[in-house]
């Protein structure tokens, strides 16, 4: 199976959230890491390759720093990588939205025939959950989302397990090529080994600029006017009355305000 895994570099989970001056995106001066569901997508791809043979290609779209997620993917076992270099965004320039990213990816891989394209379920920064789905549409391929398991099911077919609400699952058989968006936590991630890192240095890492494939933020279908960091608010409410009244008031609070019961 020839598998493409799309990985995005996002601000690290514990990075302090600070907005750029135009308040249109997160500032660059934070630490970055591989988007969590994407790491599970890579792991799923590597396991498929180990079990059934094939090739795993890692792809990212982002500035120079984003190549780090590709080097990590190569160190973990991807065979080659493609960096869609977005260059350094001008201050205040809007990031590419899910449509523009999907469009750029579809152009970059035109001419290559993948059996499977895996993306994460959603990105930990923008959280659109759309890139994989739009990519499938642009490629004219079927897709399935929130995937927990993938296995081959005969010639050019796969069987996947989807997570639904309230602990339910759905099993779907579908033809390939297909696009799957992968859920976090579905397998145990491997570590990059020292040998893997050394071998990665000799694996191909192709770089294409967005201009080369004719992509830019101009393709965006969505305009972000302004972002807001949620303001933390603390308040103390004193509940008075008899024990019975207090208990009733507390339950009402937990149910209606805190939404925890």
């Amino acid at each position: 199976m020839k598998i493409l895994v799309c990985l995005k570099q996002v601000p690290a989970k514990d990075a302090p959230l600070k907005l750029n001056q135009a308040a249109t995106w997160i500032r660059e001066d934070v630490s970055f890491e591989t988007n969590e569901p994407d790491a599970f997508a890579l792991e799923a791809a590597l396991r498929l390759k180990e079990a059934h043979g094939g090739e795993v290609v890692a792809l990212t779209l982002g500035p120079a720093r984003a190549a780090q997620v590709l080097r990590e993917a190569l160190a973990k076992g991807a065979d080659r990588a493609i960096h869609l270099d977005a260059g350094e965004a001008a201050a205040g320039a809007p990031p590419l939205d899910a449509f523009a990213i999907a469009e750029a990816v579809s152009r970059a891989i035109a001419g290559e025939s993948y059996d499977l394209i895996l993306t994460g379920l959603q990105s930990d920064d923008a959280g659109y959950g759309q890139t994989g789905v739009i990519l499938a549409e642009l490629l004219g391929a079927p897709h399935a989302t929130i995937i927990m398991q993938v296995e081959p099911a005969g010639e050019r077919r796969i069987k996947v397990k989807r997570e639904l609400e309230s602990g339910n699952f759905q099993f779907v058989e579908m033809p390939t090529p297909a696009v799957l968006t992968i859920q976090s936590g579905i397998n145990k991630l491997r570590y990059a080994t020292l040998m893997g890192i050394k071998q990665a240095k000799n694996k191909p890492l192709a770089r294409m600029t967005l201009e080369e494939i004719g992509a830019s933020a101009g393709l965006n279908r969505q305009l972000v006017h302004r972002l807001f960091v949620p303001s933390k608010s603390k308040g103390t409410t004193l509940i008075s009355g008899s024990a019975k009244e207090q208990a009733a008031a507390l339950v009402a609070h937990l149910r209606n305000d805190a939404h925890v019961i």
């Binding site: 001066d29 630490s31 080097r71 160190a75 570590y191 990059a192 080994t193 020292l194 890192i197």
Partner: protein
């Protein structure tokens, strides 16, 4: 504000990222559990071993990682930076240097490949003795030749990680002090293949754990005519001290890197807490009395780190690195201790709570003022060997 405190975070970024990712799966809760149980971080050490990090300095020809010392030092730095403790396993990195530099080809072929594959562990090093202290030439453990073997008798103390090693590097006297021309002669290094725990007593070896301030699983060890095949002698008989001293520069640089990792960990915690903790209706970090000590500790840490890279570069270039390595260890240990202290102070009472991990790291980094070499002895080295002052000991 700078997200990444370490200006050299881009150097060996791949190694850093991989080690951080691995260490990230062993969070503070893991270390607290290990501490509370008085246990050994076996899963952590196994993961590091499996990923090849602990055998990074074994040449590729023997199946190791073949990294430079600078690269290897980054591994330990990142382990400590992540909040973990390299002390659980760092010796694996530098002890094998003695075997590598002074072992015969047959010895290297015998031990290095299984070490590289993670099938064997060489992570204990028995030099220190209760009565000799830092004056290594006065150790009393003896190795007596008897046919094709040596019989070891004596007592070692502070032998760390003993329950978690297969091989033990040991320094013993093979010629009595009175019979040698120079004090440093007549000592020899042996690689002991430890029998299974149940058979040790019968073989003439017993050990007693030492309860202490940090979790290094350290023991006192007693030998009574413990037999070692003569082929396990490393290097030339009588020249063992030189074999050990030879490895010291690498050890100093690696320890310096651990201190640097600790320092960044402490400062990251300190600056975050100082920004978040509000007392008298302002973040405590707004007070210069709180922020200046943090800033100063940071400056000292960066300076020490430069010295560490300088020492590593000299070492890797095959230049004499003694002065630089000792200076790096001295400054880095001082800097990490300063960072630890300022971090604890910044956290006030919460710094003492085990769940913040600060008190544990505080104890762990304090060790580097004393072991593997105490600060005074480094100063004595610089005074005598670099500045040409009269030998003080």
């Amino acid at each position: 504000m700078q997200a990444e405190l370490n200006p050299r975070a881009g150097l060996h970024a791949d190694i850093r990222a991989a080690v951080r990712e691995l260490c990230g799966t062993f969070g503070g809760a893991y270390w607290q559990e290990v501490e509370a149980a008085g246990g050994y971080p076996e899963a952590f050490v196994a993961a590091l071993t499996g990923a090849g990090w602990l055998t990074a300095l074994i040449p590729e020809a023997y199946g190791g990682g073949g990294l430079t010392l600078e690269e290897a030092s980054v591994i330990l730095e990142e382990i400590n930076r992540s909040g973990a403790n390299s002390g659980a396993c760092h010796a694996q990195m530098y002890t094998m240097g003695t075997l590598l530099r002074h072992g015969t080809e047959a010895q290297k072929q015998r031990w290095l490949p299984p070490l590289a594959r993670g099938e064997l562990r060489l992570q204990s090093f028995a030099v220190t003795e209760p009565t000799a202290g830092t004056d290594t030439t006065r150790i009393r453990t003896v190795a007596q030749r008897e046919g094709d073997r040596y019989l070891i008798s004596g007592q070692k103390v502070w032998t760390s990680r003993l329950p978690h090693t297969d091989l033990l590097l040991l320094l013993a006297r093979t010629t009595p002090l009175e019979a040698v021309r120079k004090r440093g002669e007549g000592l020899s290094v042996f690689l002991l293949e430890l029998p299974p725990a149940a058979e040790r007593e019968a073989a003439g070896m017993s050990a007693r754990p030492i309860r202490n301030m940090v979790n290094h699983e350290t023991s006192e060890v007693f030998f009574e005519r413990f037999a070692v095949p003569a082929e396990n002698l490393i290097g030339t008989e009588g020249q063992g001290l030189r074999c050990i001293l030879d490895g010291m520069n690498a050890e100093r640089i690696l320890i310096a890197a651990e201190c640097i990792g600790d320092g960044f960990w402490f400062l990251e915690r300190a600056r975050r807490y100082a920004c978040e903790r509000v007392v008298f209706e302002r973040p405590i970090g707004q007070n210069q009395g709180v922020q200046f000590p943090i800033a100063r500790a940071y400056a000292n840490l960066l300076a020490a780190d430069l010295m560490r890279y300088d020492a590593a570069a000299r070492f890797d270039a095959g230049q004499s690195a003694g002065a630089a390595a000792n200076t790096a260890k001295l400054l880095a240990a001082d800097a990490s201790w300063e960072c630890a202290n300022v971090c604890l102070q910044t956290h006030g009472g919460f710094g003492f709570a085990a769940e913040y991990d600060i008190e544990r790291k505080f104890r762990e980094t304090r060790l580097y003022q004393v072991a593997p070499i105490s600060t005074n002895l480094i100063l004595a080295y610089l005074a005598e060997h670099v500045l040409g002052l009269p030998r003080s000991y």
